[in-house]
Amino acid sequence: MNTLRAAWRESGRWGMFQRREKRRATARHSWLLACALLSGLPGGEAVGHEAAFTFRMKAQALAEPRMHATVHRQDLTDAWAAYDCTRLDEAENLFRRVALSPRPPAPDLCQALFGLGWCRAFRSPLPDVDGAARHFERIVTEFPASQLAPWALVELGNLHVEKGRPGQDAGRTHYRRALERYPDSAAAHEAALRLANSLFYELTEPQMAAGAEILKQHLRRYPNNPLAVIMHFRLDYFYGDIRQDWAACLPHAIKVAELKLSDPFRWSRQYWHVAEILRLRLGRGAEAAKWYRKIVDECPDSMHALVAGEILAALQAEIFAEGGR
């Protein structure tokens, strides 16, 4: 194996892959430098900030294009098709064939290692955590400059976090490494979310507060990141249910309602949640009316529509009566 690895490392393809990665990193850094300089000019702060933000959003979308296999396209396509249908043994054989082929190009090998890791991780009846971890660790150690390295770290974290239980330090180490080493990677958002989640599972105040702080910091740095709505949702839950700090909960609840969760069946529930926090918990009935109105107008067939309409009518009558006095 080592001989094989050494052989393709020396091959031109590996060099090309590394050079391409380096070019991308240079482009990224030059752009950031330009943004920083721009923000230094008079009145350029906003421009620089905006440009940096635009860059960041583009970076998320463009700096990490999907990886294309170069040689083993068919085998990898077949492997993922088998993986999709949960025919994991078949998928694993195909991924292994690519990984063990002579001089696999880096993108093909990385893809195969990812596939092998997941096949082991979701093996039935029990996952093969160690086997899966070996494949992801290979990506982290052998291709640290690859865009897949932070994703592999997140997968390593996922492998070592046992859902629903406290004491998940092993998993958290990997999420932290992803955040520290690759803060601008698209995988960093998931790393932050997973790290906070594992801290919430500790169920004790210092850890839960630390989890909330991680999400808040991440949202300050990347307010429009692709997982922002989920991060606001977790903070909404934490400040509402656990802390019962409704003033802290409200901005996150409103963000979730505005950004909207993907499932349209949840929209009316979130509007209701915001309206009830305003009316019942914070005593701001007049502001709540807007959210009840949104249920009636935007989700007229939802389970909350009837009661929202009734409360809205009562609130309007109340406001009208106060105006009359």
């Binding site: 396209r73 909207k260 499932d263 349209p264 007229p300």
Partner: protein, 578 residues
Amino acid sequence: MRPADDNRAGVLRWRMRAAFAVAAGITLGLFFRRAETDAASAGPVAASGGRTILRVAHSYNDPHVAKAFAALAAAYSRRHPGVEVKVEAMPLRVYRQWIRTQLIGGTPPDLVEPLGTGGVWEEIAVQYLHPLTAAVLEPNPYNEGTPLAQQAWKQTYLDKMAGGYFLHLMEFYAASLNLNNQRIFYNKKMFRAVQGSDDPPRDFRAWLELGARLREWAGRDGKVVAPLAVARDDLLSTPGTNRTGLFTRYFRSLTGGMMAPYDVQAWGAPDPTLLFWGLTNGSFDLKDPRIRAATGAVQRIADICQAGFSSDLPENKRFLFLQQKAAMVLGDTRDFGIYQATAGFEVGVFDFPQIARNDPEWGRYYAGPLWEGEGCAGLLLAIPRDSLQRERALDFLQFATSVRQNAAFCAELSWFPAIRDAETSADLAVFRPQTRGTINAPELVSPNSSTEVYFRRNLPLFLLRQLPFDEFMDGLAQEWRARGWADLDRMLNTRIRGHRNTEFNVGRAKARLLFAEAGNQGREFVDHDRTPYQLGLEIVDLLDSSIVRRKYVQPNLKRGDYRFPPAVAGERRDPTWP
């Protein structure tokens, strides 16, 4: 050997040869028949004349359904002359096994009927069904020239295609042809004999009074006529397991809003944990007057049901009605066509009577009707991955659920159409789902738990007045207190185990995000730039939040360290409130 013996042996040999020839003939016949069947089941069969055969299988073993499918198939063949649609129906019990064998064996029909969207059907879907998600986000081409032409296929559904969405798999796998909602069918002749008109009762109390008069009327003539025929599960299904059952329907109507003080996060969604939390800190009373009134209302319905309803199956109630031994029967849209075609008497149908706000006994507790906005999808059809003509199957499915064809198909069967704007007869308007409903009613039991077992065992005794209300509720409270923690822990562990499936799907979506060979990234689900990867993480986090919440609140509540907020900001708590 004697000549007679010789003769007999000859006859015997002849008979054996004849028998052998017949057996060989049958075997050959069966072989060729089998070969023909196998060929038909192998997918895109070029039948005589090069026609493509599309096979559809479902469990509605009813000649009316067969007729409606034949008309639909003929309409499709007229539009696509090279295609023949063959529809196979089989009894539900047979279908369940048969379809799984076909799917596992890799020889399924081109369209199959999934019998659910959760549990085992989730496993089947991920392995054997073809996701429709990409297609449901595009307009249905067969809606061309109608007001729905520009709308995504899923938006053309009354329920936004919720019936075909597999939540944990994050994919649409099926499309429904109709919506099913329960209503009450009645014998118009009997109504006229008793009340002089065939008008349905105006409210809940009038319905009960009519039931009593029907019983009295039948008794006068010595007939055995039950005012209302129901099946065991219509009344006894526990809240949560059969959302549209009679018990849930009237219980929620009369207890809506009761759980609001415990709904700390204000979601308004049904949740048995809230009731348990109320019982844990001693602030919720199962013998609350509203619960007494609600269960009492259901008890009054039981009074007008047929004798032995607590063990009757759906077939029993249908026979009673068709034999005119029941004046009313609980049924859904599927029954409408059956009764119209076979009853031999005039059949009417009405919606569940609501409780009048001025009713002296129940009016003050009435919070609204039951919300029927989801969970009423009827006949679902999905495309197996192993179908060799998936595109043709999808095309047929879109044809069947286009506004015109769906209206024609459902009109043939007197079913309520699944598609918006599909015309229905005035008779069917009563089946339109009730989307104005109450929320925050208590969930008396936790699904699949010891509280549910207790409830199912004792509800018939309560309804038949063999178990007083106080005893019934004391027993339930005891059950919650004795086993509630263990039940809820089990529920949480099930949810945690369920994470594995969701994480697998996040992995699949992530693979598409990172690698071109893993397939298309998937279209956005809503009008945002969301990918299946983001949706998957949303589901993971929704599950995680819910688990963390329960794991945090429960022990703290038990220790007295967690308190529910006041009902209204600034309000001082009742001193008895914990």
